[in-house]
């Protein structure tokens, strides 16, 4: 019973993080801000949800941990590739952004020239 309550609380926290990440994807003004909201919140939310299910059913814990570790490996890779590609193909930042540190990198300059 204690395990069920603890697992339900962890799952609820993860689902809240998933919803906030999707809200960030919908509301943010820029590709890079959307990417940041969509990768950080969603990775944490999926991790917490899957671990919470593993806590609620203790026989499933190792399989759930394997799924969570795979998400922890693959989700930042794909989002990093998307961010790098959108910077290279010239998607502009939003007009309220203060500083662009990647402008001084050589590989991005070469692409824009």
């Amino acid at each position: 019973m204690v395990l069920l309550v603890v697992g339900a609380v962890v799952t609820g926290a993860g689902i809240l993080f998933l919803f906030l990440g999707s809200l960030g994807v919908f509301r943010m003004p820029d590709v890079y801000n959307r990417l940041q909201a969509g990768t950080k919140c969603t990775t944490l939310g999926a991790f917490l949800t899957i671990i919470g299910v593993g806590i609620m059913e203790p026989a499933w814990f190792w399989k759930a941990l394997a799924i969570a570790l795979f998400i922890l490996l693959t989700n930042p890779i794909s989002n990093h590739a998307l961010g790098r590609a959108s910077r290279k193909c010239g998607v502009s930042l939003c007009d309220r952004s203060a500083v662009d540190k990647t402008k001084s990198f050589r590989e991005y300059e070469k692409e824009e020239a």
């Binding site: 919803f19 990440g21 990417l35 790098r84 193909c89």
Partner: protein
């Protein structure tokens, strides 16, 4: 786990998928749409694990394992295409 908690949790995940779909419909560039699709993939993985718990059989977790391993190939292919054309 009571019926109300299951309803609330799955409803919130459905709302999350709805928000990702709205960004996919509205996004000005193709990169926005790719980000929305990738986020929807991850949210879907969490939804499938949770619904596997609701259905109560261990076989259903294999689907989530395949999701977690394989769905990032599509995002990486789109990123390669945006970068310089495959």
């Amino acid at each position: 786990m009571s019926e109300t908690v299951v309803l609330v949790f799955s409803g919130v995940i459905g709302l999350a998928i709805l928000l990702c779909l709205l960004r996919l419909l509205r996004g000005p560039t193709a990169a926005d749409r790719a980000v929305a699709a990738d986020t929807a993939c991850t949210v879907t993985t969490a939804l499938l694990v949770f619904m596997g718990f609701v259905f109560g059989r261990r076989v259903y977790l294999d689907v989530s394992l395949v999701y977690a391993v394989l769905t990032f190939i599509g995002a990486v292919a789109i990123a390669r295409f945006l970068e310089r054309g495959i």
